[in-house]
């Protein structure tokens, strides 16, 4: 008990409450349970159910213990006749209206009814309400609703999706979606927070899964975006019944539609369960003609031994005939750190080159390049959730409500508490509604806009001189470079009023704590590195870094893109960003890996590999969990490159577009079928645990990689992920202090160089890991996009993702709920353009560029500005990347998939 504690009498015994604690929570802490329904940890207490009534001496009526804070000496009685009478009568009233059958085995009302021994209700039941099963993910049975508003608070206070309302009044009081629409027709984004919050099963995952008693519950981490939400799989008969969020640093129990409802891809009938070898009679063609449900049209089944032998022998013959530079490997940001670590180790020690990369190249390569150059580290300075500590947030080139939904929820929470959002994007998004400033700049004019903001900061004396002098270098160069970038001069280039540029610059620069978060809108350009350089400089000259709620956060797209980059799945560096061309680092890894040679030549990047395949230089590739035949820019060219390969081994869950070109397909285990570590966007290392066993002969990736390595003459003998992780600790100082055992009980944010180090969510608190210890300010000039619209191709195509689908859709389009929510390809066309061209919502149009032509449905939308169209790239039947431009950023080698010239025509 501390001095500020409040002592009060509870059921005759003195107990203490800490400041701000309610009677209910204080009692709970002392082991006394008071019945409650509308109260839910982590939500605002509203006291509407009246189940937690207690008697307070001297008060006329009973009090709701969930809302009332005790005062010193207050005498509270929760188990007297009067209080218990009210508690029981409340339960009886609610119970009387419950339907005959239960929708959940975890009905909190029923459990209190049992505990309080409430008898059969003596009141007539209300009229039966119809179940709303219009939504693929969530079943709504309001006949079990007790109006506790936990769903509403989940939807509005926590996730801030603002779909659920409490409408009507009196006996007509009811939970509604939007304007009393069916859930399926509402704007619900199916985060399922309401389902998790509902105490009575009125909102449940569809399909009656809540009524099934699971065999077990396995704690794991979400397989989708970089937020890194922790979750629990509820398992019955080796199948995932449903998923719930659990308390993780990044998510605090929250999930989004993908994490909560997108798990059954692992049971999809197209899952490959046996190793496959290409049939001798099937010749590779560049043109994709794929039926993933019928792999035997292209392949024949094989034993693991045969398939592994064929896979390895193919690599060996390329090695023998064309040499090591004819081989390359593409790993995946979706797999674990251990898998990525083994994969890069295999390429480096088995193939003998640094020709290893993964989709980070198409994602944040430019951000990482600029960050490594500027601040000496490619990771975020602060966790995403730090937005709740910021006064101003800049979100630029990102659509977090779609791509990082739980991360976005923290932003929205923060904004509700008064934080100001500056949203900078050519496209409108859901966050516009929450923004103080929506700066809608012209596509690809980031540098002009950001330089103009810095010009304002420099000319108006808003530079944090102390910080600049102490922690940065080359400020003078930047300052003189910025002279010409006045807001007036940039106004016409970026399409933003000079005054608006000034206002946002001032707001950011003068904020106590400000964070910048950015996404692919910044990185996926030929000037992506320049864009990121500007953001870094903007942050540095205002000293908005190194404190909680203050810093830089490139929003990482995939669940483990941070981890796979960290463990060296990139061609320039060994694990922990140690340069392959450094003799010292080479020595370190030769020693660790027990080899006497490691190539010092920086390897090929993702797009380069496939280009070299097209050119006949790369002859053999090992692709694990990656799908360049969908994700590469100018994908028809990429496919043609893959088709030319002499030997391609693909390791995946399905016959992906890439597997179509394979000689050997190795069936791998899916995320819930394996154990390993994953590092989220916040640098937090988290453990994913195996929840179900892989189907058929599918094997875990680490095992497959090890089997290949052995056939290439390496003598690996790992027993499993833990042993691999322990080797990684020796290779990577940043995680050296993290033990496997610790990960079993908690997530740890690196750097954590020694055991028992708590980890470091906020870095750059005092200087930078650069050679000078200072951040380097690198000026950036305006570089136009590689391909500009013209008369022939007058529209700009912006590609991206959508909430329900992830990356190339190989998983999410096979998750039945996600697929039924978004089954077909679509392109967003601005309403004015549509009006001009006579295009109606829902029609199918042709979209074409200099590189390809696809057919897709139109959605009229004002989210994309006039003259631009937007399309998600996850649809194989209309692959947006058939149109995109493969022009690369010169430093980072990232492709400009956010900008190319297209045209559209109404189909016949």
């Amino acid at each position: 008990m501390t001095e500020s504690d409040i002592e009060f009498i509870f059921n005759g015994e003195p107990i203490n409450a800490v400041q701000g604690e309610t009677i209910l929570t204080a009692a709970k802490r002392h082991g006394h349970e008071i019945p409650h329904l509308c109260y839910n940890d982590g939500m605002e207490a509203v006291g509407n159910c009246r189940a937690c009534m207690v008697e307070i001496e001297g008060e006329r009526t009973l009090a709701a213990s969930c809302c009332r804070q005790p005062s010193t000496g207050m005498k509270v009685n929760a188990n007297g006749t009067r209080a218990v009478g009210a508690q029981k009568m409340v339960m009886e009233l609610l119970l009387s209206d419950m339907p005959g059958s239960q929708y959940t085995i975890d009905n909190e009302l029923q459990s209190w009814v049992d505990k309080l021994n409430v008898k059969q209700p003596r009141f007539k039941s209300r009229t039966k309400l119809e179940t709303d099963n219009t939504h693929p993910a969530i079943e709504v049975s309001l006949d079990a609703c007790i109006h506790c508003t936990r769903c509403l608070r989940a939807c509005r206070d926590l996730q801030v999706n603002d779909v659920i309302g409490l409408a009507g009044r009196g006996s007509d009081t009811r939970i509604v979606f939007d304007m009393s629409d069916t859930l399926g027709q509402s704007t619900c984004v199916a985060c399922g927070e309401c389902v998790q919050a509902c105490p009575t099963g009125a909102l449940m995952p569809s399909g009656g899964v809540g009524k099934v008693q699971p065999d077990k519950t396995v704690d794991s981490v979400c397989p989708y975006c970089g937020v890194g939400c922790l979750l629990s799989y509820h398992i019955k008969d080796n199948k995932v019944l449903h998923v719930t969020g659990r308390q993780g640093i990044a998510n605090q129990g929250r999930l989004c539609v993908k994490g909560r409802f997108g798990f059954d891809y692992i049971n999809h009938p197209e899952r490959i369960t046996k190793p496959l070898i290409r049939r001798d009679d099937i010749i590779k063609t560049a043109e994709l003609s794929l039926d993933p449900s019928n792999p035997l049209a292209i392949f024949r089944e094989a034993t693991w031994d045969e398939a592994l032998d064929v896979a390895a022998n193919g690599f060996k013959s390329v090695l023998k005939e064309q040499g090591k530079y004819a081989l390359a490997g593409l790993g995946s940001a979706k797999g674990s750190c251990e898998e990525a670590y083994l994969f890069q180790k295999l390429i480096r020690t088995g193939f003998g080159t640094n020709n290893v990369d993964h989709c980070t190249r198409l994602c944040h390569a430019s951000s990482v390049t600029a960050l490594l150059e500027g601040v000496g580290s490619g990771a975020v300075s602060n966790p995403m959730k730090d937005v709740t500590k910021a006064d101003v947030i800049i979100v630029i080139g990102a659509n977090p409500t779609v791509n990082h939904p739980v991360g976005a929820s923290w932003m929205k929470n923060s904004i509700k508490q008064g934080t100001k959002l500056i949203l900078m994007d050519p496209r409108r998004s859901e966050l516009v509604r929450h923004a103080t400033h929506f700066v809608q700049f012209k596509p690809a004019s980031d540098v002009a806009l950001l330089n103009a903001m810095m010009n304002v900061i420099v000319t108006e004396g808003l530079v944090d001189i102390n910080y600049v002098e102490k922690h940065t270098e080359q400020f003078a160069e930047l300052e003189s470079h910025l002279q010409n970038y006045t807001p007036q001069a940039m106004e016409s280039i970026c399409g933003v009023d000079a005054d608006e540029i000034r206002a946002t610059a001032r707001l950011y620069a003068t904020a106590d704590n400000a964070m910048i978060l950015w996404g692919m809108g910044v990185s996926q350009h030929t000037h992506g590195t320049d864009n990121a350089r500007c953001l870094i400089s903007l942050c540095m000259i205002t000293g908005q870094i190194g404190r909680p709620g203050t810093g830089l956060h490139p929003l990482r797209g995939q669940n483990n893109v941070q981890g796979t980059s960290d463990v060296g799945l990139i061609p320039m560096v060994f694990p922990d960003y140690q340069r392959v061309d450094s003799e010292a680092k080479q020595a370190r890894f030769q020693k660790l890996w027990g080899v006497d040679y490691l190539d010092d030549k920086v390897g090929l990047t993702t797009v380069e590999m496939v280009n070299k395949a097209y050119d006949g230089i790369i002859k053999g590739m090992y692709i694990q969990g990656e799908n360049p035949a969908m994700s590469d820019p100018d994908v028809l060219h990429a496919r043609a490159g893959l088709a030319k390969l002499q030997h391609l081994v693909v390791q995946d869950l399905f016959i992906t577009e890439t597997a179509y070109y394979a000689d050997v397909v190795l069936p791998a285990a899916a995320h819930p079928e394996k154990t390993g570590t994953y590092i989220n966007s916040d640098r937090t290392v988290q453990l994913g645990r195996q929840a179900v066993s892989p189907p058929g002969d599918a094997k875990q990736d680490w095992w497959i990689i090890q089997e290949i390595s052995r056939r290439l003459g390496l003598s690996w003998n790992y027993s499993g992920p833990k042993e691999i992780f322990n080797e990684m600790r020796q290779a990577m100082d940043s995680i050296a202090g993290i033990t496997w055992e610790r990960l079993n009980s908690e997530s740890v944010t690196y750097p954590c160089p020694v055991e028992n180090d708590p980890g470091k969510p906020v870095i750059f608190t005092d200087g930078y890991p650069t050679s000078s210890g200072r951040a380097k300010l690198v000026p950036a000039g305006i570089v136009p996009p590689d391909e500009q619209p013209d008369d022939e191709y007058p529209f700009v195509l912006i590609t991206g993702r959508q909430l329900e689908h992830w990356h190339t859709g190989s998983m999410t389009r096979r998750a039945h709920i996600l697929d039924s929510l978004e089954p077909d390809p679509w392109v967003a066309v601005n309403t004015r353009d549509a009006l001009r061209l006579g295009i109606e919502d829902g029609i199918v149009i042709e979209l074409y560029s200099r590189r390809g032509r696809i057919e897709t449905e139109v959605r009229l939308s004002d989210n994309s500005p006039e003259g631009t169209v937007f399309m998600p790239f996850c649809y194989y039947e209309a692959a947006a990347n058939e149109l995109t431009n493969a022009a690369l950023d010169p430093q980072a080698k990232i492709a400009e998939v956010k900008y190319c010239a297209v045209n559209l025509s109404i189909g016949s």
Partner: protein
């Protein structure tokens, strides 16, 4: 052109034309979230209903969610939400009160007959008390009230298109009030160094208590709010909706400035930054009057605090002080849990002085005439006077200013011209529908704050509904419970579910007294606000005082 239809479309598409229309009718003032209900009124007034396309547009315009607009609109019964494809309501609505007094004199038959006789383009709605119980039964055509309504009167009104209420003709207007020395006190208070402490003391000494029903001493309330941090706000409750109550309307129809001067004095003494007047939607004539007089007042005094007149939208619960605050903020009128009290955390989170209209109405007189002037009144050891809204079976129903502590017998005999011919006193509601029902045997109990507690009743807003041997306590209590069921905000279980279950139990021929008693106890003990806590009073009184009416 090919069309695909495999995906269910989610979310409605914004109707841009509706958005443009909406912007037109809302005008060019900056949009304010707290004016949501006012905006809904504008839409309803323009389109005779709330088509969802405008609600969607309003959500976009206010930068809030559709759900937020819908839940507010659907809370208030004067709004008619029309979804895509649904039929719009008829242009004209005739509202017939079916609360206690009106039902006693045949409202149900009137409703049935009107529904049969009036054409389809007129909607007949039974509505809760419209605050004209002294002329029951009452109907309202559009906004035009019909006293002692009959089918013929209503038919005539409909056919002559008499559908808009006018400001009360006899009201003392600004210039008259000024001529009669009005605002002199306020003027002196502002210009001279008037002793504010003396004013507070006068109010305290007079013993005047809040006249909305709760009876909190006015002087003490001013002192409490005065001590809070600025900015402090003031909210005035003219949501007079307690069945049987019409005193606020009565005073406003006669002398609105006496109230407004009291309001300004309070604002000055307490240090109020802004004033919000919440007037029930049913008082359309008074709304026009107050709009006109506030404009006069504001042009007369340049330095008044901002005064906003807000319009209720058909929700009895908004007469509850914290529900009213929610409503002024543009939300559903759901009472707040206390603590904190509104004096500390009220409107927009600021310390708030909340008053019933009548409480302010007497301020000028008490200060001018002294504390004794007020406290010298009273009978049976009680002090002051009360404005009794009397309705039911008496010869002269209406507002009677009578000494506090007067008994019902005295009130009927001295002020109401006795019982109606052929009627014998049977019982009475001493404080509107929520105050309970007393039998004739308790007609000699002093009527004032606190005096009725031992009898399971309270005086509340001093709305006396007199029942005779022609009436049934059980029927009127059932009417009251149905009213509470209808008017419950729906927030808490004991009230939302309790009023429904109680109504069901009360409409059974045989009463389960034990279960009813248990239910009454939880409603009284565990409801969030006064509505739920008092809703059981009439039922409990029937159980206690009128056993002869109960089949067990």
């Amino acid at each position: 052109m090919k069309k695909k239809n495999s995906r269910q479309k989610r979310g409605r598409t914004l109707d841009k034309f509706a958005l443009e229309e909406l912007k037109q009718i809302l005008g060019s003032d900056p949009r304010r979230r707290d004016l949501l209900i006012e905006y809904l009124h504008i839409i309803q007034d323009n389109y005779n209903c709330l088509p969802v396309k405008y609600l969607h547009a309003l959500a976009v315009e206010l930068n809030i969610s559709q759900a937020e607009v819908y839940e507010v609109a659907s809370f208030y019964h004067h709004f008619d939400i029309v979804k895509e494809g649904d039929k719009e309501p008829p242009v004209l609505t005739v509202r017939v009160c079916d609360s206690v007094c009106c039902e006693m004199v045949g409202a149900q038959d009137l409703i049935k007959n009107l529904q049969r006789i009036l054409s389809d383009d007129v909607r007949v709605q039974s509505v809760p008390c419209v605050g004209r119980c002294d002329s029951a039964p009452v109907a309202v055509i559009g906004t035009y009230p019909i006293a002692h309504a009959t089918v013929e009167k209503i038919q005539q009104g409909v056919s002559s298109n008499t559908i808009s209420d006018n400001p009360p003709a006899k009201a003392i207007r600004m210039h008259q009030y000024l001529e009669q020395g009005g605002y002199d006190l306020y003027h002196r208070l502002k210009s001279q160094s008037f002793d504010i402490e003396a004013i507070l003391k006068t109010l305290e000494d007079s013993g005047i208590r809040g006249l909305g029903g709760a009876g909190f001493p006015i002087g003490r309330k001013w002192r409490i709010v005065k001590s809070q941090a600025s900015p402090k706000l003031m909210a005035i409750n003219i949501d007079e909706g307690e069945p049987g109550t019409f005193k606020d309307r009565h005073y406003l129809e006669q002398d609105p400035h006496r109230f407004l001067e009291g309001m300004l004095i309070a604002a000055h003494v307490v240090g109020i930054a802004s004033i919000y007047i919440y007037l029930r939607d049913e008082y359309a004539g008074i709304r026009t009057l107050l709009q006109q007089e506030l404009q006069e007042l504001q042009s007369h005094y340049a330095d008044l605090p901002p005064i906003e007149l807000r319009r209720g939208a058909g929700a009895y619960i908004c007469g509850e002080e914290s529900a009213m605050i929610e409503s002024i903020e543009g939300k559903r009128g759901m009472p707040r849990l206390r603590p904190p009290f509104v004096a500390e955390v009220g409107l927009f989170g600021r310390p708030t002085l909340e008053h019933n209209m009548e409480s302010l109405y007497w301020v000028r007189d008490i200060i001018e005439k002294g504390a004794d002037w007020f406290s010298s009144h009273g009978r049976h050891d009680r002090k002051g006077f009360r404005s009794f809204s009397v309705s039911g079976r008496v010869n002269k129903p209406g507002v009677h200013l009578a000494p506090a502590g007067i008994t019902l017998t005295e009130l009927i005999d001295e002020y109401c011209g006795g019982m109606l011919k052929g009627h014998t006193l049977y019982g009475y509601f001493p404080g509107g529908a929520s105050g309970g029902i007393l039998p004739a045997s308790l007609a000699n109990t002093p009527l004032d704050f606190d005096t009725l507690n031992e009898h399971g009743c309270f005086i509340g807003s001093a709305a006396i509904i007199v029942l005779s041997d022609h009436d049934s306590a059980r029927a009127t209590a059932t009417n009251a419970m149905r009213f509470f069921m209808h008017e419950s905000c729906g927030q808490c279980t004991p009230c939302r579910v309790g009023t429904i279950k109680a109504t069901e139990l009360m409409t059974q021929e045989y009463w389960d007294k034990g279960l009813m008693q248990e239910l009454c106890t939880v409603m009284t003990d565990a409801s969030i606000c006064g509505l739920g806590q008092a809703a059981a009073n009439p039922l409990q009184c029937v159980l206690r005082y009128f056993p002869q009416e109960i089949n067990q």
